[in-house]
Symmetry: C2
Subunit: 216 residues, 2 copies
């Protein structure tokens, strides 16, 4: 690290930040394209167009890189939640927007649940606690808050919000994490394109909302 | 193989069949308990109480063993589908029974989708085609048949049955394939016990049925 700092010219800072982002983007693209979270340091670096030693420099290890990627991916969505609660809309509309966002998330980063699974099994306990408390709980709590709001407003039926969270992430992820099943069931390319994604989003949100709304 | 046959005593056949099942059961238990499909030959054999050379003898390789397990797990459910269609019930009740069975399946074998993902990526093309055509398509087609029946009977609304299949396997799997999220969201043990499973099954089936039924 010191060596790299010494070698870096005065104007290197933006360049360095670009390499960091390039590595995160490369890891994300590789996991998405290869439908796996088992990716190698050399491939990530090659894709990013930087020396693979930079992974150690920026992230300490591949685990550190994947952790930073998960953090970036999820925080982006948590910031969207803040905006969601500032909207002056009914609980029904707020939940609809939220659910569309969840389906969009799995379309954009279909490796999300699998990355969490691997990180939780292999990462150090401090990181695991961070994932639970600062990435997953805020999303689950936001959804719980919308449900409480909707029940109070008489729009939603009584439902277990914690279980609904798993219904949501499961149903939203269903199409994108089972790529082979797409080709087995639909025929053709094992991949959800934009048109299929939009149809899936509409149907998934409709089913979940019907499950939630008082009058079906 | 020949060597093992020669060494086997005359009454070895039932014993040998037991060892085969014991290996399948051991692999299933290890994947369930460790929440991963990355398990080793030595561990499987130790758990089954047989020599690990028997894996090669019965299945050719670990891939062969996992393929046989997937086959056994899924065929058991396909046979249940035959019984399901012989029941004289309404499409609504038939779908309800079917959906309960799917949630039960992911509770019993939470590694199912992940095992399919790994097999499809790593197995030989003949096995991959078998998984698609003889394991996944019969289940998707059965569900499509119930939906067509329900639409014709005026019980279900118009819905895309292929997309509904992904809603179903996703929502049903949601709780069981995200064990860490269970402890992050609920606190306590990262595992769905029988009581939680029954609550999840009831809510999941209710949500999917409301999504399907004409009058919500």
């Amino acid at each position: 690290m010191t060596k790299a700092s010494v070698q870096a010219p005065a104007n290197a800072r933006p360049q360095r930040e670009n390499s960091r982002d390039a590595l995160l983007d490369a890891a994300s693209a590789l996991m998405r394209e290869n439908d796996t979270v088992e990716i190698g340091i050399v491939d990530i670096a090659a894709r990013a167009g930087v020396n693979h030693a930079m992974i150690r420099y920026f992230f300490g290890s591949k685990e550190g890189l994947l952790f930073a990627l998960l953090d970036r991916d999820v925080y982006r969505r948590i910031r969207q939640l803040d905006r969601l609660f500032s909207l002056k809309v009914t609980p029904t509309d707020r939940m609809r927007i939220h659910l569309r966002g969840i389906v969009d998330t799995y379309y954009a980063i279909p490796y999300l649940n699998r990355l969490i699974q691997v990180m939780v099994r292999e990462a150090d306990p401090v990181r695991v606690r961070h994932i639970g408390e600062e990435l997953l709980q805020p999303i689950a709590r936001a959804q719980e808050r919308i449900i409480a709001e909707g029940i109070a407003a008489g729009e939603f039926r009584q439902i277990d919000p914690k279980l609904f969270y798993f219904n949501t992430i499961g149903a939203a992820d269903g199409l994108y994490s089972n790529r082979f099943t797409i080709s087995a069931v639909f025929g053709g390319e094992p991949r959800a394109d934009e048109a299929l994604h939009l149809r899936y989003r509409e149907q998934t949100v409709e089913i979940l909302m019907r499950g939630l709304l008082k009058d079906g």
